[in-house]
Structure formats: structure tokens, C-alpha cells
Amino acid sequence: MSAPAQDWNALSDDDFRKVVRTFFTTHYPEHLRYSPSRRRLSDMRGWYDTLSQHGWVAPSWPTRYGGMGLEPGKLVVFIEEQEAYGVARVPDHGIIMVGPLLIQQGTDEQRLRYLPKILTGEEIWCQGYSEPNAGSDLASLRTEAVLDGDHFVVNGQKTWSTLAQDGTHMFMLVRTDKMARKQEGISFLLVDMTTPGITVRPMRTLSGHEEFCEVFFDDVRVPKENIVGEINKGWGVAKALLSFERLFLGSPKLAQSALSRLSTLAVLSGRVRDPVFRDKFTALQLDVDDLNGLYRRFTAQVSDGEKLGPDVSILKIWGTETFSRIGDLIVEVSAGAGMIDGPSDFEGGSFDTLSTFYNARPSTIYGGTNEVQRNIVAGNVLNLPST
């Protein structure tokens, strides 16, 4: 399946950092460094294979399932090195969401069936939660699944599914009981995207990339055993997954890589010497450092076997808003070049001034908007009364 597991956690952080750095410098393709936008599978296939061959696809999964089994401190080191080197994301819904979920809540059959193919990259996952009228209010979703013998028959529409055009499988939420109260009639399904009746329509984002899709379901037959958890208990399954998602979305990844880009620009544009810039940069640097600290705290909780609480939302808020402030400063420092779409020529080299800014826009929307995250913290952490 993969190379024999190694005990990375036995290394000191510094030694581990060297190993990771060497791995990236040795194997990661130069032309894919510091990618300005989300990469499609076709660009990342080779890198996925490399990760797979070395057993590096899933840094956070336990070793017995083929992951690297990194403890939190090591995971942060991994992310820092990855971002410092400008390593792009592979399509990773399987790695960051389906894997951990099945490890936690799947059946043995499901784990055996799905985990290995995530590690090899044979199967690529996408997420089907949101619908045109069920965004923040996800529980009002209407795509329905009706049991018919050994199959569920799925009808409805999902939207904003990231890179669904490259997905071989989708994990989705469907309504299986229309009579029950909102959250209680929802189930969690795993669906093969080649099943007849599925239509995928890619949509362009405002930065001009086809990053997400509408997905239509017309009498799509899904085997009964593809349900995760019990029927009508999908909301609970999804909620468990959401905390993985929030942990991931709050990871310092985005902010860290944006900060690397900002320092590159500071050098290219000669702004590094400007005291006004140095103040602004340092404020952001410290924001990212403390984001790292927060992240470490939450990941430690997970590896100690504790459940993540609603307070993990602060990670997503701080992470994405720090990312966004860095994107703003990149545009500001770019001065006139901040109006150019695509690479601009600075004396020291070329630089895409708007990509971080654009990428920051959806980060405060996806995975539960930051308003919704703030509602969660106010209500469930600070215990403030609802209106």
C-alpha cells in the first residue's frame, strides 16, 4: 500500500524540519511552486503520486491506516515547511475529511474500501453539502434520497462543490425523512460520481478559475451500504466532520503561505526597508505566529483523543481574517501594480499581486461563513442568549 511507516515523532522538531525541507526541495516540481490559484488534479497528479509512493499523502492520519501519524507539533512543522516552499494543495477532500471521518465513524468495510484509494489518489473526493437555498442554514437542505430496495434514489441539486469536476466520489448530505424536524431527517452518503443521473456544471469564480461546480442529481441510485452512520443521523456525522474541517480551514497554511508571498514581494519591490511596512509586516507575522500557537493547541486536543468543542471556530475566524489582511497588504505594497490581473514585472522579478487577495475572499465564506462562526462562539462558548 505504502512505504513502511516511520516514527516521525521520534525525531526532534529540527531534525524533522530538515527531513521535510529536503523532501520538498528534492521532489516538488519547481514550476508548481507558489501557485497563484487552486490547482486542478491534472497539474497535481504527479506530485500526488510522489507523496503516495513515500507514504506522505496523509500527514495527520494514524500510521495503521497509512498516514504519517504526525503529532501536532510535527504537523505544524510540516505545514510551515510546505508553505515556505510554496507547495500547492492536491485535491484533498478525501485526505482531510473523508479519511478522518471514516477512521472515526465508518465501518470496517468502508475503511477498507475507501482509505487505500485515497492514499493512492485513485479516488478523489468532493463535498456535496450546500444547496442554492441551504448555505448558512445547511439543515434546510432539500436534496432527497428515497430508499428503494437496496438503493437510495437521490434527486436534487448541490452547489459550490469545490473541484467536483475532478472528483470520482462525493460525500453528501441528503434528506431521508421529510416529516422529521430539520436536522433529524438528514443522512450522510458516499456517492460514485460516475453513477448515471449525475450532471456536473463547473462555475467560474471571480478570479476566473473553474474552482467549484453545481451538481445535479436525477434519479441517482446509490447502494444502501454507502451510508455513513445510521439513516437520519447524518447531521451528527456531518457535525463531527465539520470540526475536522474547521481545524483544517483554521490551519496556518493559508496565512503562512501568504506571508511568504508578502516577504517575497517586500524584497522585489524594495519595501523591506520602509519602516511603515516593517511595522505592518511584523504585526501580521505575530498574528500568524499566534495562529500557529492556537492551531497547535487544537491539534493537541485531537491527538489526546479529546473532542473538539465549538471554540475551534475561533481558529477559522482568526486564520482566514489574518490571511485576508495579508492579501490586503500585498495589494497595498504593490502600489500601481495592484491594478494588474496576473503577473507584474518588478525590478527583482515577476509577481502576481492580486491572487492572495482573491483567494482570501471565499475563505471567510466557505466552511461556514465567519458570521456563522461568530454566532457559534457567542452562543455556544460564551453562552450568550439568542434573540
Partner: protein
């Protein structure tokens, strides 16, 4: 001293201009025009027919001889549904230079501009920084004639222009010369701006310049005045854009439902909507103050302070508002299919063009606090 009757006359005139601009905007402009990528010559003609091209041009140069304050409300109307055409770059920035030049060449170019059959651009910038060095392009005398060589960046509009007004260093002064777009030695590298418009890099290699093409031998002050006027004009367009983005977003907050409520009923969004409204009103007063200061100004320093005051506010406000507008639209705001994204892109472009907020704050500080420390 302006008499009260003059004032009210001026107001009436402004109202007429504003109303006709508003009617034109309603009839002809749609945000989606930004998606097409190119300039519409029909709309350009339409703007000319409104008389806008010659509004700032002095009467003795064949224009209407009005002031920036008369143009601002009209530009606001045009900016609201987003104006794709490079009105400010060509009619204000280039137009004012042509008007101040007073040569036979500039007179004939101005006439074509007023008729809506000329699209000129001013090529002045060489560094991304407003305060950077823009003087490497040289005009040199060579066997009887003159020769232009150098490279200009962020030239707006770029590849759809008829010609460039180029700022070049001559004999110790900044000389402004006219170069036709198809002249030998001119190479245009098109760069797309965020809003789909152009901001070209233009190379001039030994371009022959005749005496007729020299618009102003010592043109630094003229260029400076045109830049300050254009900067205030951009602010007016940005104010329109801000109003447009806020209107669109408030409509969305009133109609989109989640949790069985219109999302505009959530206090979290109401408070932030109010913050956007504050940005809009601050922007409006910043422009009014800048216009008043500019019109009273007798020196270039005061004019620059006025322009920087407005641009520092408007560049910042436009980005705050359009970013929040996207956020309040949720997922749909991040698609290319929804027009709110076009407001963000236009805001990015106009915020950076002619200096972003930080650059104008820096210039304001330099001019008001001095260079000390």
C-alpha cells in the same frame, strides 16, 4: 467673490448635467459591460454627445469651461452602474493636457476628442510607485529632428488608443509629446487590469517626433494639474461605485432568506451595513472638501493635497465596501456570474490607479507635515 445668483445658476447647470448623465447611465450602462473586455465606441460617442468630453476644457479652447465640481456629480452617476470606458484617462487626464497645450496639433486632437472619435492616453508612469522616478524616457535632438525612447507602464487605456501623450525628459524639463499609436518604434504590450480594462506597458524606440507633435516643451505643471484633476475625477467615479455596490448589497440583504428570515434581519449584518453606509458618507464629504479646496487653489501643492485627501479616502472606502459586499453575498458573491464581483474588480483597479490609499496618505503627509523625521 461669487454672487448668490451665480451659485444657484451653477447649481442648476450641475443638476442638468447630472440628470443627463443619470439618464445616459440608466439607458446605456450595465456592470456586465466589464465582462466584454473592450471599449464600446457607441458608448464613447454617447458620452461625447452628452458634452462630457469638453466639460473641463476652457472656452477659448472650444470647451464648456466648467470646473471639476460640475463634473463630479455626473461621474458619480456614471460610476454607479460601472463605466467600462476610459473616460477619466482619455477625457480628463489627456483632455486637460491637450487643452493646456494650445498648439494647432492639440486643438485638432481636442476637436476629435469632443466629437467622440479619438481615444488618447497619457503615458507618464515608469515606476509602480506614484512617488517613484518617472523620468527615464528621453527626448533627444538628432540630425535636425527629435527622438523619443523609453518605456511607460500602466498606460490606460493601452492597446485600443489612437495615440499617446508621452512625458519625456528633454533639455532639463518634462516635455509632453504626441505619439500616434501606429507610429514606427511604438510597441504596446497589453496587460489586463483587474476590471478587464487595459494598463499597457508601452515601449518607445527611437520614435521620430516632429515639432508639431510637441504639445508642451516645459509641461510638468500642466501634467501635474491634469493628474490632480483626474485623481479627483476617479474619486467621483469610485463614490458612484460605492453607492452602486451598497445598493446591490442592501437589495440582497432584503431578499435572501436563510433560517426562514431575510438575512438583513440579522443584527450582525445590520451593523456592518451601517459601517458601509458610514464609508459612503465619509467618501462623499471627502470629495466635496477636495473639490472646494481644488477650485480655490492657486498653487500645485494645495491641489495635490486636495486630490490626495480624496483619493486616500475613496481608494480605501471602495475596497472596504466591495470586500464586505462579497462577504454579505456569500458563495454567489464569489462567482463570475454575479455582478457584485465586478464592483470589486473595478474598485481594485480604480483604487490603485493614480495612487492607492497608502500612497496618497504618504503624499498628504509629505505635503502637510513636511519631509522631516
Amino acid at each position: 467673490m461669487t454672487k448668490t445668483s451665480d451659485l444657484s445658476e451653477r447649481r442648476q447647470q450641475q443638476q442638468l448635467i447630472t440628470e443627463s448623465a443619470a439618464a445616459f447611465a440608466k439607458r446605456e450602462l450595465l456592470p456586465s459591460a466589464l465582462r466584454s473586455g473592450s471599449i464600446s465606441h457607441t458608448r464613447w460617442q454617447g458620452l461625447a454627445e452628452l458634452g462630457l468630453m469638453s466639460l473641463l476644457i476652457p472656452e477659448d479652447a472650444g470647451g464648456l469651461g466648467l470646473k471639476i465640481g460640475d463634473l463630479v456629480p455626473a461621474l458619480e452617476q456614471l460610476g454607479k452602474p460601472l463605466l467600462r470606458e476610459p473616460f477619466i484617462a482619455s477625457a480628463v487626464l489627456a483632455g486637460v493636457v491637450l487643452a493646456g497645450s494650445g498648439t494647432p496639433k492639440s486643438a485638432s486632437l481636442l476637436e476629435s476628442l469632443a466629437e467622440g472619435v479619438l481615444i488618447p492616453a497619457v503615458a507618464w508612469q515608469e515606476s509602480y510607485d506614484l512617488a517613484g522616478d518617472h523620468t527615464s524616457t528621453k527626448l533627444s535632438k538628432e540630425n535636425g529632428g527629435q527622438n523619443l525612447s523609453g518605456r511607460k507602464i500602466l498606460v490606460t487605456p493601452g492597446d485600443e488608443v489612437d495615440g499617446f501623450i508621452v512625458a519625456a525628459s528633454g533639455a532639463g524639463v518634462t516635455t509632453l509629446v504626441w505619439v500616434a499609436a501606429n507610429a514606427e518604434g511604438v510597441k504596446v504590450e497589453t496587460r489586463r487590469a483587474a476590471d478587464g480594462g487595459e494598463a499597457a506597458t508601452v515601449h518607445f524606440e527611437n520614435v521620430a517626433v516632429t515639432d508639431d507633435d510637441v504639445l508642451s516643451v516645459d509641461g510638468a505643471a500642466l501634467l501635474d494639474e491634469a493628474q490632480q484633476l483626474a485623481t479627483i475625477a476617479v474619486c467621483a467615479e469610485l463614490l458612484g461605485l460605492i453607492r452602486g455596490a451598497i445598493d446591490m448589497t442592501m437589495d440582497y440583504l432584503r431578499t435572501r432568506k436563510q433560517f426562514n428570515r431575510t438575512i438583513g434581519s440579522f443584527q450582525a449584518l445590520q451593523h456592518r451595513a451601517t459601517d458601509l453606509f458610514i464609508q459612503q458618507e465619509l467618501s462623499a464629504v471627502a470629495i466635496s472638501r477636495a473639490v472646494a479646496d481644488f477650485e480655490m487653489a492657486t498653487d500645485s501643492r494645495t491641489r495635490a493635497i486636495a486630490a490626495s485627501r480624496a483619493k486616500a479616502r475613496l481608494s480605501s472606502a471602495a475596497l472596504i465596501v466591495t470586500k464586505e459586499a462579497i462577504q454579505m453575498h456569500g458563495g454567489i458573491g464569489y462567482t463570475d456570474e454575479h455582478d457584485i464581483g465586478l464592483y470589486l474588480k473595478r474598485a481594485l483597479t480604480l483604487s490603485a490607479w493614480l495612487g492607492n490609499a497608502a500612497e496618497h496618505r504618504a503624499r498628504f503627509a509629505r505635503l502637510t507635515l513636511g519631509e522631516a523625521a
